[in-house]
Symmetry: D2
Subunit: 255 residues, 4 copies
Amino acid sequence: MNRRSLIDLNADLGEGFGIWTLTDDTALLSIVSTANVACGFHAGDAPTMRHVCRAAALLGVRVGAHVAYRDLAGFGRYSLAIDPSMIYDEVLYQIGALAAFTHAAGSRIRHVKPHGALYHDAARDEAIARAVVAATHDYDGGLAVMGLPGSGLQRAAVERGITFVAEGFADRAYNSDGSLVPRSARGVHEDSEVIIEQALALATGTAFRSVQGDELRLDVDSICVHGDTPGAVHHARALREALGRRGFTITSDLS
Amino acid sequence: MNRRSLIDLNADLGEGFGIWTLTDDTALLSIVSTANVACGFHAGDAPTMRHVCRAAALLGVRVGAHVAYRDLAGFGRYSLAIDPSMIYDEVLYQIGALAAFTHAAGSRIRHVKPHGALYHDAARDEAIARAVVAATHDYDGGLAVMGLPGSGLQRAAVERGITFVAEGFADRAYNSDGSLVPRSARGVHEDSEVIIEQALALATGTAFRSVQGDELRLDVDSICVHGDTPGAVHHARALREALGRRGFTITSDLS
Amino acid sequence: MNRRSLIDLNADLGEGFGIWTLTDDTALLSIVSTANVACGFHAGDAPTMRHVCRAAALLGVRVGAHVAYRDLAGFGRYSLAIDPSMIYDEVLYQIGALAAFTHAAGSRIRHVKPHGALYHDAARDEAIARAVVAATHDYDGGLAVMGLPGSGLQRAAVERGITFVAEGFADRAYNSDGSLVPRSARGVHEDSEVIIEQALALATGTAFRSVQGDELRLDVDSICVHGDTPGAVHHARALREALGRRGFTITSDLS
Amino acid sequence: MNRRSLIDLNADLGEGFGIWTLTDDTALLSIVSTANVACGFHAGDAPTMRHVCRAAALLGVRVGAHVAYRDLAGFGRYSLAIDPSMIYDEVLYQIGALAAFTHAAGSRIRHVKPHGALYHDAARDEAIARAVVAATHDYDGGLAVMGLPGSGLQRAAVERGITFVAEGFADRAYNSDGSLVPRSARGVHEDSEVIIEQALALATGTAFRSVQGDELRLDVDSICVHGDTPGAVHHARALREALGRRGFTITSDLS
């Protein structure tokens, strides 16, 4: 089977806390092949973590720990200038907490993905990237790390012998260097044709346009579907169907 | 070897948070054979959890998750009337979080002990006891649960086929029914002779006096040494030496 | 003007936290005359508190502190068995925090209303009621306390010389003793005719039926409109209009 | 009376949380003339805030809000890259929360001092300095702001017409530009003669040596006494006595 006819779809799930919900976890779990689950630091109370892990186990969706800075009020969107050693400790804490729920569900976690500010900090700061990778490795050397292709996080994972899952964003604008255009700078695509076009380019490894107008080609293993916007479920389903029509099988098992 | 010549000494450790410390973890780890480690809900930030788990692994001290209600401001000392299902979820979360640190230290957790108000609630409320036991069991059926002998927690553990580690308190006064006299009602012994006397009675399974003046005989596997008082280390060391002089070996391996 | 032709409508607002929202604060502020604003313990991050207090000041809506047990994960819905002295301290903290935002908005807080489990605990436990009232009084003896008519909170307020604002619920079923039927026991009316009927009975001080079938007559100063349900805004607006058609003026100024 | 024969001594107090204590608040309140009280974000639970504010009111010690980033686990020592508008909101929240306790104690807050990372960020980042000053001003234009002489915070305060209380550190080494040498870079004096010498230089406005060996002259209104180190009380008392012997009156009333 052609490697390129398989693609993983991932979503950030369990992003509620207590009475509050953000993501439609049940609906998205029926669409994606991989769920990155909040672990209580930026979102994710324990009942939500249990619910998502159980449902994912039933549906065969791959689960990873979506680890973040400890900041509920800021949803993990702001950098916290803690030492890499504290990042290591807090990432390890979150991995373990989530793993308890996959474990109780008869499943296991398979990867770690940093969230929000930690995602960006781990992409560009080597010490932070290494802290995230080390925590992942020390928990279980068989876990993968998910992040931006070409990022510092990828280099740190490779250096440590950890599998890296490169993800692309169908609905986010890119700079020519492969970094994401900030949301606040019109970095989010809203036209569904543009989104599907970009998803197909990412899935097939063909070129698409950066905001600077250059051709950009990214080698990704997974496409991230956003779950925290109105219409998220609708967009995700449309994307899945478009990929299906183009001959792709949605699966987290890319090996 | 006579079963009664072995006794476990346990202490509640890692009870700091961030800049704050309460227990002298390093000193106590050189005295006890079992450490119940705070998991972030009543105390226990991630760096402290890592430190205690690493040191315990080096010293061969058995580690358990000291699980609590989510209440840093109250140190887990106040009952929170959440549903048993939420207790299940939050206990599971804490077990997993701690297990990440034992795991990274090349070790593993071996038991779960409720802390503070959850300790007392699990002793007298069946639904709460079952929630704690179920979370322990669903994480790993090989884990033990530690608590008061004769408590509801013991019954729930037995019912579920989980090993129960009965603990006694050398420095706490008991009622004739085996329950603890509250700290606020002169429930804490301060005379070190009384403490050592009671420890020996607990270790040998012989009788000692309840506050009502009755003879009380408790069958315990472990004696809890308090770590959160001034002089805690001194008392713990004295107790260990007294037990040693009476022929006891301090060990968590009672099988 | 007839006292009974004036009625206050109140809603619990600001019940989001960080990225999460629950109540449509802007819409409800255009409907009600009184806003009870979450203070960070069960909900209510600082930006939300600022926003609600500013909008309320512009619209002339009375603002009160909606004080709760410290429990974001449980939305303040679970009793926490802390001492009355700690309740006093934590209520005082919340009143002050909210008052900073009314103050910065050129306005001031006018009352205190307990939320969730604290609402129910203060209604039936004298020591808790007195703690809430004392904190209110010690902050400003001119503040009112809002709660259930006939409750322990009302008695404690009267005892202390604090104004009590009795509130009724148009959409909640009552027991014959004036207590609320729990939500989980079919305690919420959904038929809008029933809701409006009950609101009019409350506003006019005439009788309506308890779930036991008895006639119940409650003397209330304010009717609470729920903001945390789908359709909340629609129901609140319909209620306001129905009261208007029956000759009522919606105002927090009942003196 | 000569302006220079008056000097304020300030300490950061109430830096415990729940069961944990850090500062010996009672002892230090008998030594200093100004207390900067933690407001719950980096430390400071409500009972501690009440205790410190009551004791300060009895002793006539000036109270200010020691405001911080929301980070108990990191004690406010790490920068959090939130927007200035969120800093404004969270500072306002903390001012109000503390003011409730001074108010209930029959006293009032008199100033605001940023803590930890916020102290340093407000010294060098104009937007952050302005956010802190604006929150202070919007709470009460009569409040002062305390910080490093010559800092961005001072400029922002002056710009807004807010009184600035310049503080110096007797036990911290300075760079020639007036900034503090980090603690981690041998920035803390331990020799009590050096400490007293530097305090006298600060109190009299005479020169002392920076770590680079230059003469440094700082115009300060207050000298900060650290309360979070072993021996803090002893050092503070010695400093107070040395200033007394040199003819200084310790007072927060410098006008």
